[in-house]
Amino acid sequence: MPEAIPSTAAYLMLSGTLFAIGLVGVIIRRNMITVLMAVELMMNAVNINLVAFSHRFASLEGQIFTIFIITVAAGEAAVGLAIIIQLYRLKSTINVDEARSMNG
């Protein structure tokens, strides 16, 4: 059976693109909420990767791990947003560069 079009490689390229965009977002943005969103974006890129491989190798592991990643993303979002709220209460800003009092 020939591989269905679009190929797994296309999915991997898309996933890589999204991951790179997310990475750029994490590095260049100063707004903490946007940074967190970029992290979610990277997680989604990984999910695409896993699902594409799951289809490619006809095994369910990829989908299972996607579900776990979604779980982790939910937890991460909750904790991260709690941290953002606390930071906003303390410093009344959500600029990443401001959170450096441990910086010495």
């Binding site: 750029v24 909420i33 989604n44 699902v51 289809h55 937890g75 709690a82 709220i85 800003t93």
Partner: protein, 222 residues
């Protein structure tokens, strides 16, 4: 051009464009909306790769839960955008360089790989398997137990569920524990400690949720 490729091209383009907009929007609410669009596109891609259950869960959890949480926080601290904002941080050149490097890395990795080989039958993605021991009489008269694997086409969700509750039971439990810990952690971190004046002025109903019968009696007799 097959319809799958057409759908993939359109959805993929939307996903990439939306994700670029996510990191370039000034306003976090707009970012969140484009992130939502990206998630929906990704869900469609999941469905195209035979993972309906994961696609539905993606929409349910990401779109229904996480993004609402994001919007909730954005509204709670209600910043339209950062004051005196430069959107980009000081080392944005480095950021772009790293992103580009990672992208090139992916491209070079993907291009020669084995991913262009034909896909084996994806029936495994939508089948559940039951294992059973059966006694088998060998030609020499001995009886041994033999593991028999029986497949049944049932649909993606059932297949995922079977895998989740048999092979991946421990990770599943760990994930639930993780969620519990995350919930407690989020509550502890996000809890606002009241100042002394607030402590005094706190309305009574927030401290005592329900009046006891005795109190009602007192209030009525007053």
């Amino acid at each position: 051009m097959s319809p799958e490729l057409l759908v993939f091209a359109v959805i993929g383009t939307i996903a990439v464009a939306a994700s670029i907009l996510v990191i370039s929007m000034r306003n976090p609410v707009h970012s969140a909306l484009f992130l939502l669009l990206t998630f929906l596109c990704v869900a469609v891609l999941f469905v195209m790769k035979g993972a309906e259950f994961v696609g539905a869960v993606q929409v349910l959890v990401y779109a229904g839960g996480i993004m609402v949480l994001f919007l909730f926080v954005v509204m709670l601290i209600n910043v339209r955008h950062l004051p005196d904002e430069k959107v980009l941080s000081n080392f944005w050149k480095g950021g772009f360089a790293v992103g580009l490097a990672v992208f090139i890395l992916f491209v070079t990795l993907v291009r020669p790989g084995v991913y262009h080989d034909p896909v084996p039958s994806d029936k495994a993605l939508r089948s559940t398997y039951t294992y059973r021991h059966r006694k088998v009489k060998n030609p020499d008269g001995t009886v041994t137990r033999k593991l028999i694997r029986r497949g049944k086409v049932a649909g993606n969700s059932e297949a995922v569920a079977m895998a989740l509750y048999t092979d991946y039971l421990v990770p599943f439990e760990v994930a639930s524990l993780f969620l519990l810990v995350a919930m407690i952690g989020a509550i502890v971190i996000g809890k606002r400690e009241l100042s002394a004046s607030e402590e005094e002025n706190i309305p009574a109903y927030m401290l005592e949720r329900s009046e006891t019968e005795h109190e009602i009696k007192e209030a009525m007799s007053a």
